[in-house]
């Protein structure tokens, strides 16, 4: 079975299984899927939203690919994302008053990158120094990060002019520039450049190869003289930093502020996408587009057809389950053939 089918088959099966669920919910699956497609891809407004949504997802994917390829399981993305978002939202309106817009945007992105990277240092250090499993520690740090982000909004960055706790809002005119008069901000271009750079980094550079060696076999890496601890910390920081950059792009491009208790939880949503893409930076672009359109279409469909928005998550879960199944069957088949 070729690669295309190994990827498309799980998606088709998931859509089919999803259709069965929809029938049980008393909804017309064709109407739902048709509406999702129309709202997510085939209407200009929807397509713009889909592409806009892709920007943070792609940047998060870039961050996860770097980490996962190196065998570093950074699952603390949500905490890193939210902290970077809050810091960006607090800084941008203040900075823009004293410096040009372009400089503000760039500085905010850099600081978001750094803030998220710092939040990853503790799990990175514990893994590098003591071999403590980073899945557990990065998840724990994620909960702490999410809470800290809320505390920051409520205690320090609460815009006094609002009643609900939220940061000051960056004026629309000061946000990321739009592309050719559309509603799509230039974050998507940045995300595409970053994901391609990450792909090249992993496939063409000594640094990427070192990360792969560390990921495939830490013992061999140590034997070959690679500084496994340092590489782990750098990988973690790079991964978290890119996730922080995703947050900055989303805040500077779309929201302009952060409300308390806001948490899109993109970090966890993207994990399955990068696995579907087999940690390939180019393939993940397609999956992100697919998932992004599902999200946007699903949001509209939730309002219009009354299928809960979380149905999109169900679909994603089904895709993963079928992916594993197809993978398993394919593996069995190959073993039988003795390839």
């Amino acid at each position: 079975m070729n690669t295309t089918w190994r990827v498309l088959l799980p998606i088709l099966l998931a859509l089919l299984a999803g259709a069965v669920v929809l029938i049980f919910l008393g909804k017309d699956p064709l109407a739902y899927y048709g509406y999702v497609m129309e709202r997510g891809i085939f209407s200009w407004g929807g397509l713009q939203e889909t592409i806009t949504r892709m920007a943070p997802l792609l940047l998060i994917a870039a961050g996860l690919i770097v980490a996962f390829r190196a065998g570093v399981w950074n699952l603390g993305g949500d905490g890193q994302y939210l902290l970077a978002a809050v810091v960006t939202a607090a800084l941008a309106p203040a900075l823009v008053e004293v410096m040009p817009r372009a400089l503000t945007l760039v500085i905010c992105m850099v600081i978001a990158f750094v803030v998220a990277a710092i939040w990853s240092l503790l799990p990175a250090f514990l893994r590098a120094r003591y071999g403590i499993n980073e899945i557990v520690t990065s998840l724990m740090m994620s909960f702490l990060g999410i809470s800290l982000a809320n505390v920051l909004v409520k205690l320090f960055f609460w815009d006094p002019t609002t009643t609900v706790p939220q940061t000051r809002t960056l004026a629309i005119a000061d946000r990321l520039p739009r592309i050719f008069g559309s509603n799509i901000h230039i974050g998507i271009l940045l995300a595409l450049v970053v994901i391609i750079l990450v792909h090249l980094l992993m496939t063409r550079t000594a640094f990427g190869l070192k990360l792969q060696i560390v990921g495939a076999s830490p013992k061999a890496a140590r034997h070959a003289g690679l500084k496994v601890g340092a590489l782990t910390v750098v990988t973690f920081a790079l991964s978290a930093g890119l996730i922080g950059l995703a947050a900055a792009v989303e805040i500077l491009g779309v929201w302009g502020n952060v409300r308390a208790d806001w948490n899109p939880a993109y970090g966890m949503l993207v994990v399955p996408l990068v696995f579907l893409a087999r940690l390939n930076g180019l393939a993940v672009i397609g999956f992100t587009f697919f998932f992004s359109s599902l999200m946007i279409g699903g949001e509209s469909a939730a309002r219009r057809i009354g299928v809960p928005q979380d149905f999109v998550l169900l679909l994603m879960g089904l895709v993963l389950a079928f992916l594993a199944l197809v993978e398993y069957l394919d593996h069995r088949r190959r073993q039988r053939l003795g390839a």
């Binding site: 063409r204 550079t205 000594a206 640094f207 792969q212 060696i213 495939a216 034997h223 070959a224």
Partner: protein, 546 residues
Amino acid sequence: MGHTDGPPQSVRPAGADSAPVLPSPVLSVRTLTKRFPGVVANDGISLDFHAGETHVLLGENGAGKSTLIGMLAGMLRPDAGEILVQGSPVRILTPRQSLDLGIGTVFQHMLLVPSLSVIENLMLGGPWWQRLARGAAYRRFAELSECLGISLDPDLPVGHLSLGQQQQVEILRALWRDTRVLILDEPTSMLTPQGVRDLSAVLCRLCSQGVAIVLVTHKLAEAYDLGDRVSVLRQGRLVGGIAADEHRGMTEAQMTDQVIAMMFDPAHAPMADERAILLGRGNVHAPSVRRGAAPCLEVRNISTMPRTAAHGLQGVSFDLRPGEVLGIAGVDGNGQKQLAEVIAGQRAPSSGTVLVGGKDVTQGDVAARRNAGIRYVTDDRLGEGTVGSLSVAINLLLKNVGAEPFWHRGIADWARIRQAARDDIQRHDIRTRSEQTLLAKLSGGNIQKVLLARELGKAEGDVKVIVFSKPTHGLDLHNAQLAHRRIRESAAAGRGIVLLSTDLDELLTLSDRIGVLFQGRLVGIVDNGPGAGAAIGRLMTGAVAA
């Protein structure tokens, strides 16, 4: 089946009749065949195993010995043929069924849980719904220990035992139930000479108690010393054997000649130096040490922190001169790995210094040591020496990632990397479909060739010292001989060689001097020559350690 109840029928009290009259065999295989993609690992093998007899299966690596015992142990399923236990055909689908049929297997690699105690390891494998019957287990342990003449503390964690003792636990476990057939896969590969003597004593007692023993080995001397009957496998086929009565009347030389004739195609009959490896007794050592020269490696008072199940080094010191082969003997786990890693720069010593060509390199990491002229051929070829999921080409450059001329400012020059790999593949006769093939697809011998190419090839800098760790472990004759030749060539070229090996014969064949590591200390260095083997054997058991 209750594993702790009642006295076993098979392990009878000592003193039972010891001259087997060979009734019907306990275990037989009939035209047993097993195919793997591309090879027929076992091709119509028929054999009988009798009670009270040690049956040696001889053959090179890849001859099909492990496949055969894998099928008997329930790890593999035969494609054709049948297995008979006391004359009736059986199907062995799982290891548990194999145990239920009275077949106990001791594998080459220890399969014990190091953090559990001896008795806990022995109780593993009982039905999960039963309470652990400790009392019964201790009784069974005492009974078996007495039977076999071994003394172990049942409450000690297995990780604290020596490998020889761990093997005894494995044997106990294999005999735990009513075992009629005991299969041992290369059981002497990590024992001291003393350990081998203990093992053969245990096997003798078991034989006299009517257990059928199947001993898998590739060493001819062992077959002669331990076996009653020998069967020889070659390329998956049974190519001959020596019957018990025949065996008794033969001298060792007669038997080895006959067996070698069976083990090898006449067209590829082993050469003199290959025969030496095979017999493990020939000593064709030609010293190339340059005595007057300044030492190329000085190890001064090195100590390391102990790790679980392995001793740390304590004050290890030695000099190595250009062209000298310094063998390091000792049972696995006495500090060999640490010593190799300290020299290679993979492990920082807690005290002491390492000098290469008179220059202190103690602080240097792997790359610095490599630049200083140190090379390290590890024994853990797949675990740390290579990355199975990466290509042969990358593995050939694993220790040079990012270095010119293959990377320019960190950017890979794939064309050049592949070309260099193709050159290496040709020069070192590495059998692989292409340089892009994943390393894990290569055979053990070819993986060793990749390592040798990487460490000994026309590498950067001036090579002064090469550390070989168990260079022939698990290799077939041809590749073992190739490794030996490389070691000799390197020494003749004026490099200092540190040869860590648990194979005493190998050390005696290649070394100028042989040091012995015991519990992390270098308890002595013996000049190679007549009587060296005996002296080393004594040192290995710590007899002279003080």
